[in-house]
Symmetry: C2
Subunit: 190 residues, 2 copies
């Protein structure tokens, strides 16, 4: 029985539908990527995660590891690459798993999807997912990496204040008023 992380592949695919909403090819591929990273993680007790894309991969990480956006163990940094890093703290030794374009050459349908060479309407989702399930982690490569010290440095939040404009609590270090009232909120209150 194929497993991804500590989970049977079938259970993972069910969780994908429940959590992510649909069996996105990126989630199927992402399961194998997380699995490959877990298998090559340097020894240690705890690890954190970095997703280099906001598309799909953060959800694969959240389903297969203890790392979530809200608990702070997963950070998303949009570098535009379909890749993830699992790493140890302290020290920052980790493993990076990425989709290897050379390895996609043997899978034209997967390549068309991955490079968006074909309009979505012309894709056969089931056939695509079947091929990803067949190819699994053979589409990926991995490398050991070391995270920069300032990226993994523990940041303690300082004092909170009440914003004199919106009257909500905010980190006092953000300035005399909160970031939203400084103009960063992407909405207007009706």
């Amino acid at each position: 029985m194929t497993r991804v992380g500590a989970m049977a592949l079938e259970d993972y695919l069910q969780k994908v539908e429940a959590f992510h909403g649909h069996p996105a090819p990126g989630m199927v591929l992402g399961g194998f990527m997380v699995d490959l990273a877990l298998k090559h993680l340097p020894p240690g007790e705890f690890y954190d995660a970095l997703s280099e894309t906001p598309k799909c991969l953060p959800d694969a990480i959240q389903l297969l590891t203890p790392c979530t956006v809200g608990n702070g163990w997963l950070r998303v940094l949009n570098l535009g690459r379909y890749a993830l890093v699992l790493y140890r703290k302290p020290g920052g030794e980790g493993v990076r798993v990425y989709v290897d374009p050379l390895k996609l050459e043997a899978w034209p349908e997967i390549k068309d999807w991955f490079f968006k060479l074909k309009p979505k309407a012309q894709q056969n989702l089931q056939s695509l997912n079947e091929q990803i399930l067949e190819a699994g982690s053979t589409l990926c490569s991995f490398r050991t990496v070391t995270l920069d010290a300032d990226f993994i440095a523990v940041r303690r939040r300082g004092a909170f204040a009440v914003c004199s404009h919106c009257r909500e609590s905010y980190p006092a270090a953000d300035g005399p008023i909160c970031r939203a009232c400084q103009g960063q909120a992407p909405f207007q209150i009706s």
Copy 2:
């Protein structure tokens, strides 16, 4: 039986432990915040979510709504406020739920935690969570909001290219080489 969203409160608290890893007070409070937002969402079929903080609240949203980071329906924008917005697309009409400092005055222990007035070691997690469960959404206020058009505009990704430096796929619009190879990666490959 108290419910948060479509879930019994007890089920939600179990899911918090499984997904978030521990019964963080921010997750307990977050459950009530999402519930309040769902109750005051403008009519419509689908909605997206915005979390104004990366702390805890994104996980409450991911557990109680169809919106996740990886499916793109939840975006996290760190404005430093413990608040969330659920909104309709198109149009951008939504509801914003926030913790109201005035309403915390009746709950000194919750206020101490929320404003970080007491060291974590001096907090009684169980008593704090019990009070949050008792207070529920009475700690929060909500307002109707309209999201900015450019925030909710649908962005289609353009063509992908292979980075001449790392040999991975990346959005061609990012430049002649990918963002990571432009120096934005927070790690070194060993």
